[in-house]
């Protein structure tokens, strides 16, 4: 998106630069040519060093370069501007001269996105484009991009890249990129015929702790007759494998914390409704789904709008009953569109809280002293809600796009940290703190705790318990909605979304100790970490999950009240 906005500007700015102009002409030729000629043009482009062309090449791999068939039969490659008019059409920028595409009368032509065919690209061509891009990217202003380009060139096993890389090595200011270039150079030199060069390369790889080089090293060891190469290679592999296990260790810790955060976010609402209120809310999962679907609707409102249409699944006198309404879209783009998620968070809380309120008023208020029956009734609610999701949103999962600031990751010494994972950890901290503050530092929190400790006594003291119950249940459901908004970013959003999390949520709350927020936090991280460690050790996610469940069952024999059980003299 941002790229295309840039392209519009390019139309005016870059025309003056001769290098870019030549490169653009080459590119325009490359798009419409085929076979070896195309490969050659791409190689030339790779050497051009033109930043404008790099963006266009990237656009090509995404099928965003379109072909306009001129009336004279010639093919003109163009990209569409981002700016669309009322009819959803946009001006087209020519690749070759960066002018707007116009007809013979110099009227600018406008197209909708589906009007033109994309320039052909297949896997092999994209490979070639990628190589050209990689050479170009080695000069990218962004160090991350330079680094990944260097890694790719190293894996290519093509010696022609050695001079390119060496040239870049001299000019490279960034240490991490220099390391990547060194790694790539060593990998390329590993294929050298001279044993001395090979040994030097192997030593270099071992020094660099190059993760991706293990296979190449093993191959080199196996292929080389030279004992020096074999010995050096063996040692290098050993040292790198040592490094891999360290990386896995820290990676597992991070993944455990991140999974723990997800469990915590998911279970916190239940810790309120079940832990504090004693309501076995089997519809908790559906509250999560309400939050996730709210994010979906908000996303669509930021896009082209969303229509609610329900057709009742039976006919009435041969006539289907259908009703619905449409939320108009904001047609937002760019960062404004991506910010939808920030609006989705509070709205998810609100919608789930409202749903919780409705459930509390209609069903749960009659069941405060009958926990087993609240379990049964809320299970009924959960079934009804699942089917309602199907009727409103369809049986299929719906598509939720993550904003770009939640995609991607950064690495520290080969341990990778996904942005969404870092976000969920921060998110978990924020909502736990918020909940804790609400419960302990506000008047409402005081009332909630009073009612939960002794409903009758609180009532006698003049607390409007009905109201507090209502608010507490709505708050717990709202927290579930927040969890749903987050889950829409890492998983699927569908009618059975809640079912995937309900048992885990109950386990977290029960292990933590019913009624204890601290316990819930500890057990969420404990279960998350145990799950990730077992996965790593056993290599099987299924067995990991089964062992975690079995351990929980056994743990509860030992500590029936959970980690932090509330002490009481009561027998029940």
């Amino acid at each position: 998106m941002a790229l295309l906005a840039g392209l519009g500007g390019l139309a005016h700015l870059s025309a003056a630069e001769g290098n870019d102009a030549t490169a653009r002409r080459l590119l325009a030729q490359a798009v419409v040519s085929t076979g070896p000629a195309q490969q050659k043009l791409l190689a030339q482009l790779g050497d051009s060093g033109s930043p404008a062309v790099r963006d266009l090449l990237a656009a090509w791999t995404r099928d965003e370069i379109l072909i306009y068939e001129a009336p004279d039969g010639s093919h003109v490659p163009v990209v569409l501007e981002e700016q669309q008019d009322a009819a959803g059409k946009a001006r087209a920028v020519r690749i070759d001269n960066s002018q707007y595409l116009a007809d013979a009368q110099h009227h600018e032509l406008r197209f909708a996105s589906g009007d033109l065919n994309a320039g052909d690209s297949d896997m092999r061509l994209r490979g070639a484009i990628q190589q050209a891009l990689d050479s170009l990217t080695l000069a990218d202003p962004d160090p991350d991009a330079r680094r990944s380009a260097a890694v790719k060139l190293g894996n290519s096993q093509k010696k022609q890249y050695i001079p390119i890389l060496q040239a870049r090595r001299g000019r490279e200011p960034d240490a991490a990129v220099r390391k990547a270039i060194d790694e790539s150079l060593a990998l390329l030199q590993l294929g050298d015929a001279d044993a001395a060069v090979q040994v030097a390369a192997i030593t270099r790889l071992a020094e660099l702790q190059a993760l991706g080089s293990v296979d190449a090293l093993r191959r080199a060891v196996a292929a080389s007759p030279d004992p020096r190469v074999k010995e050096a290679g063996r040692r290098a592999v050993q040292s790198i494998e040592q490094h891999i296990s360290t990386v896995n260790f820290f990676g597992t810790i991070f993944r455990g914390i991140s999974l723990g955060s997800i469990l915590l976010v998911v279970a916190l609402g239940l810790a309120i409704t079940f832990g504090l209120m004693g309501i076995i809310n089997m519809a908790h999962g559906e509250m999560i789904a309400v939050g996730a679907y709210t994010s979906y609707v908000v996303q669509n409102v930021f896009g082209s709008g969303f229509g609610f249409h329900i057709t009742l699944p039976f006919s009435f006198g041969g006539q289907l009953l259908a009703f619905g309404f449409t939320l108009p879209g904001l047609n937002a783009t760019g960062w404004w569109y991506e910010s939808y998620f920030l609006f989705a968070l509070p709205l998810s809380f609100l919608m789930a809280a409202l749903a919780g309120l409705a459930v509390e008023r209609s069903v749960i208020q009659f069941l405060y002293r009958r926990p087993l029956e609240s379990l049964l009734a809320t299970w009924g609610v959960s079934l009804v809600m699942q089917q309602l999701f199907r009727m409103v949103f369809g049986a299929n999962n719906v598509q939720v796009n993550s904003p770009s600031w939640l995609l991607g990751h950064f690495s520290l010494d080969d341990v990778s940290f996904g942005y969404n994972r870092v976000f969920v950890i921060a998110f978990a901290i924020v909502i736990v703190l918020g909940t804790w503050l609400l419960l302990t530092k506000t008047p409402l929190g005081l009332l909630i705790r009073a009612v939960m400790q002794n409903r009758d006594m609180a009532s006698c003291m003049g607390v409007r318990t009905q109201r507090v119950n209502m608010m507490t249940f709505a708050f717990g459901s709202g927290l579930a909605g927040l969890a749903g908004a987050f889950l829409s970013q890492i998983g699927n959003v569908g009618p059975s979304l809640g079912q995937n999390y309900i048992i885990d949520s109950f386990m977290v709350v029960v292990v933590g100790g019913v009624g204890s927020i601290v316990g819930t936090v500890c057990s969420a991280f404990g279960i998350g970490a145990a799950d990730q460690v077992l996965q790593q050790v056993l290599g099987s996610p299924v067995m990991g999950k089964i062992i975690v469940l079995a351990t929980i069952i056994l743990f509860l024999q030992w500590k029936p009240g959970g980690l932090f059980s509330t002490r009481s003299r009561s027998l029940d």
């Binding site: 076995i280 069941l367 029940d572």
Partner: protein, 403 residues
């Protein structure tokens, strides 16, 4: 923890007013129809005549009867002893698997690969029959396994749970976790029980072709007899001193404990008995429906069984039978006529029963009669919370007089 007592609700569901003799006559009549009349009509009435009962119907009713037995086992735990198990289908499935293993081995060389091994073992590359499968060549070993395997599982789990005094909702959640873990286990191909596809394509049972109408009729009659037997056993249990103790544990476990009873052992006994009953139902279910797979032990299946009991009327023995048959017949119909509505119907039925009809279907006649006889009197109150019944001795005493 909040009090878990639901005496009052259950009491309303009891058929206490119906004279014992009338009930006995009703049960004998129903048993005659189910076990003698229907199979005879299936076997002897000519096809096309108004009296003919089709093979399909017999098979379908056989399935319902299995569900009814399962429902009684749930009710024995929940309605009579106050233990809501959400994992009863685990025992049902284990029973099914135990007999299913025997049925698998009886296929012999008639399978896809004409091998002595069950098909799934052949194409997953098992070199030979795993050791724990070998004894299942014997029907009697399998039949014994139907009883002792689920019994042992229930004994171990129950011992651990009751010893550490896990009760109420914790018991429910733990049983749910247990059945969930077991279903994950059985879904794995490595677990040697056919993974997700389960056990299927049965051919013979004790020398009879399982697909023949006569065999199915036999299985149907066995199921009817099992139901009758279960009914009689539970009737005897619940009417004896044992039953009094059961209800006492349900209503106030602590007082029973303080009166010198080892309630943990008592609950363990009930848990094991009900697990075995469920397993027997499962064992008869499998040859009639022709498949057992791990989705039978997923938590929602057990919850569904609880729905049957709640809808029929818990704390009675007729209630679960009526509930199981009614809900499943409704399901058979709704999944054909209005597939999109089935979940809403099931869910709404549950909410309505919990909120408005705690005694289930069996309490309807009594409610109607109460209204018809004494219109000036208000109906039994809506289920506003019974106030901490166990804490107040005066409130619990009528419960015992109702039985």
């Amino acid at each position: 923890m909040p009090n878990l007592n639901d005496t009052q609700i259950i009491r309303r569901g009891l058929l206490g007013r119906i004279p014992a003799r009338l009930e006995l006559i009703g049960v004998i009549a129903a048993a005659l129809v189910v076990i003698v009349v229907l199979p005879s009509l299936n076997a002897f009435a000519p096809e096309g005549s108004a009296f003919h009962v089709s093979d399909f119907t017999i098979n379908l009713y056989g399935k319902y009867l299995c569900y009814a037995v399962l429902a009684i086992s749930v009710d024995l735990l929940w309605g009579y002893t106050g233990l809501l198990s959400l994992g009863q289908c685990l025992f049902f499935s284990i029973g099914g698997y135990a007999l299913g293993m025997y049925l698998m081995l009886m296929i012999g060389k008639l399978g896809q690969y004409h091998s002595d091994l069950p098909d799934f073992m052949v194409f997953l590359g098992y070199p030979k029959l795993p050791a724990h499968w070998v004894p299942f060549h014997s029907f009697w070993f399998a039949a014994a396994a139907v009883i002792w395997v689920p019994g042992a599982v229930a004994l171990i789990f129950g011992y651990l749970a009751f010893r550490s005094r896990i009760r109420g909702v914790y018991f429910s959640i733990l049983t749910q976790a247990l059945t969930y873990a077991a279903s994950l286990m059985f879904f794995r191909n490595d677990f040697t029980f056919g993974g997700n596809n389960g056990l299927t394509d049965f051919k013979f049972i004790v020398g009879h072709d399982v697909r023949q109408p006569a065999t199915q009729r036999g299985l149907y009659i066995c199921t009817g007899l099992l139901l009758l037997g279960t009914y009689a056993l539970c009737k005897w249990l619940t009417q004896s001193k044992f039953g009094k103790l059961q209800r006492a544990v349900r209503d106030s476990e602590n007082r029973v404990l303080f009166s010198g009873y080892a309630t943990a052992n008592f609950k363990l006994f009930v848990f094991v008995v009900s697990a075995i009953i469920a397993a027997l139902a499962g064992a008869l279910y499998v040859p009639q429906v022709g498949i057992i797979n791990p989705s039978e032990m997923t938590p929602d299946k057990s919850l569904e069984a609880v729905v049957w009991v709640a809808v029929g009327g818990r704390g009675t023995l007729i209630g679960p039978i009526i509930g199981a048959v009614f809900v499943n017949a409704l399901k058979s119909w709704a999944t054909r006529a209005y597939p999109d509505l089935w979940l809403i119907i099931l869910g709404a039925m549950f909410i309505v029963v919990v909120l408005f009809l705690p005694g289930g279907i069996v309490s309807i006649p009594r409610r109607v009669m109460a209204r018809w006889r004494r219109p000036e009197q208000p109906l039994p109150p809506l289920p506003t919370p019974p106030v901490e019944a166990s804490a107040d001795p005066a409130k619990t005493s009528p419960a015992s007089s109702a039985s």
